[in-house]
């Protein structure tokens, strides 16, 4: 191989740089809150906080498909409590302040879902 030293060194540098995000992720940073303020008068969400934090977007997708396509509009949580499946009429009843709850994390993570172009926020008036 010509220029073996330079080529191998280059490949190594590329491999380290290319996988850097994985190494950085694996060095085990603690979960850091983005300063969201959960609703005060409710102790727990429909499922535990870790699940909701990691999977709420997939849960909402599943809720939508179950409610609209399967016409199953009631969710029986693992704790046994039953919830009406509705972002606007169930989630937003507790999480009534989207700026202090939804937006803090979404903005910090550079995700910009457009829920509120259709779903009406509590007390909304433009």
């Amino acid at each position: 191989m010509y220029n073996a030293k330079a080529v191998i060194a280059g490949i190594l540098v590329f491999a380290v740089l290319g996988t850097a995000p994985f190494w950085a992720g694996m060095t085990g940073k603690e979960y850091r809150s983005t300063g969201i303020i959960p609703p005060k008068d409710e102790k727990s969400c429909i499922e535990n906080a870790e699940f909701m934090r990691a999977e709420h977007m997939r849960l909402l997708n599943e809720w939508r498909d179950e409610a609209l396509r399967g016409e199953n509009r009631v969710y029986a949580a693992s704790g046994g409590k039953k919830w009406n499946i509705s972002l606007q009429n169930t989630c937003l009843k507790c999480h009534s302040n989207h700026e202090e709850f939804c937006d803090r994390c979404h903005t910090a993570n550079s995700v910009y879902p457009y829920c509120w172009t259709c779903h009406i926020l509590p007390g909304e008036s433009k």
Binding site: M1, R64, D65, R69, A76, Y114, C118, I120
Partner: protein, 263 residues
């Protein structure tokens, strides 16, 4: 670098195995692909009204001009935050039109003057063979198990194939942001609005049926519009259809509409 055909095939075969093995293992795992993410379960609401196939029977003899249908249309707009846009880009869920426009097949060339002069209400027919569902490329519109042709606006990409497919003109496109034409806050804060770039239509009030209520236009009609289960021989709609002569819109197309007009 010199490689024999044999060693190349060995490396290539191993690579393919390594790359696809992970996918195959994941697919073989029970309940991995497509299974629900939620730890809880799903159920129908206790108050939800059920039917084999929902249908509507409109007694048009008890209505005269388009103004008689206005309270029904207004109830629909209020229940679903349907805007009123004063031009050809209006959004229509429930509206009234003339006999000629409603029944262009003209099965009887000489109906009596009253029949010809009356206005007729138009809405989505919730067909048994809905062309809009067949043409939708994203399955944003679909048929539910109780015969309602429903829409998932999250999936709608605004291609408007369904509008071309619908022979009844029952679908409207949001050329403009509908919220600009709604009061603020919108009339029904429990129901979402739509956004610019999606198609919308009558839903037979699926969300009201799920809560045990009749559709908004049926409630506003003082019994002149019947709503019930077409597959139940003893239901109010079946009795009304057995007792009186009824027609449907454009029956020759084979879409099997679920909206019947008593003439």
């Amino acid at each position: 670098m010199n490689k024999s055909r044999r060693s190349f095939l060995k490396v290539a075969g191993l690579s393919v195995f390594a790359l696809t093995g992970g996918l195959a293992a994941r697919a073989a795992m029970p309940g991995a692909a497509g299974a629900g993410i939620a730890p809880g379960g799903y159920a129908k609401g206790e108050k939800a009204l059920r039917a084999g196939r929902w249908a509507m029977v409109i007694d048009t003899r008890k209505f005269a001009g388009p103004e008689d249908y206005e309270p029904l249309a207004e109830a629909c707009r209020a229940a679903h935050n349907v805007p009123r846009i004063p031009d050809a880009q209006n959004v229509k869920w429930f509206w009234a039109d003339s006999y000629e426009h409603c029944f262009p097949d003209d099965m009887n060339a000489y109906p009596d003057d009253k029949t010809r002069a009356r206005a007729y209400p138009l809405l989505c027919n919730h067909c048994a063979n809905p062309p809009c569902v067949r043409v939708c490329p994203t399955q944003a519109t679909y048929k539910t198990e109780d015969g309602i042709v429903a829409m998932d606006y999250h999936r709608c990409i605004g291609c408007r194939f369904c509008m071309a497919g619908c022979p009844y003109g029952a679908r409207s496109f949001n050329f403009k942001d509908p919220r600009k034409f709604l009061p603020s806050p919108p009339p029904n804060p429990d129901f979402p609005t739509r956004m610019i770039g999606v198609v919308e239509k009558c839903t037979f009030c699926a969300e009201r049926l799920a809560a045990g209520k009749m559709p908004a236009c049926v409630e506003a009609s003082d019994g002149r519009v019947l709503f019930g289960d077409l597959e139940d021989a003893g239901s109010n709609v079946r009795r009304a259809l057995a007792a009186d002569f009824s027609i449907r819109r454009k029956p020759s197309l084979g879409t099997q509409p679920g909206v019947y007009y008593l003439i």
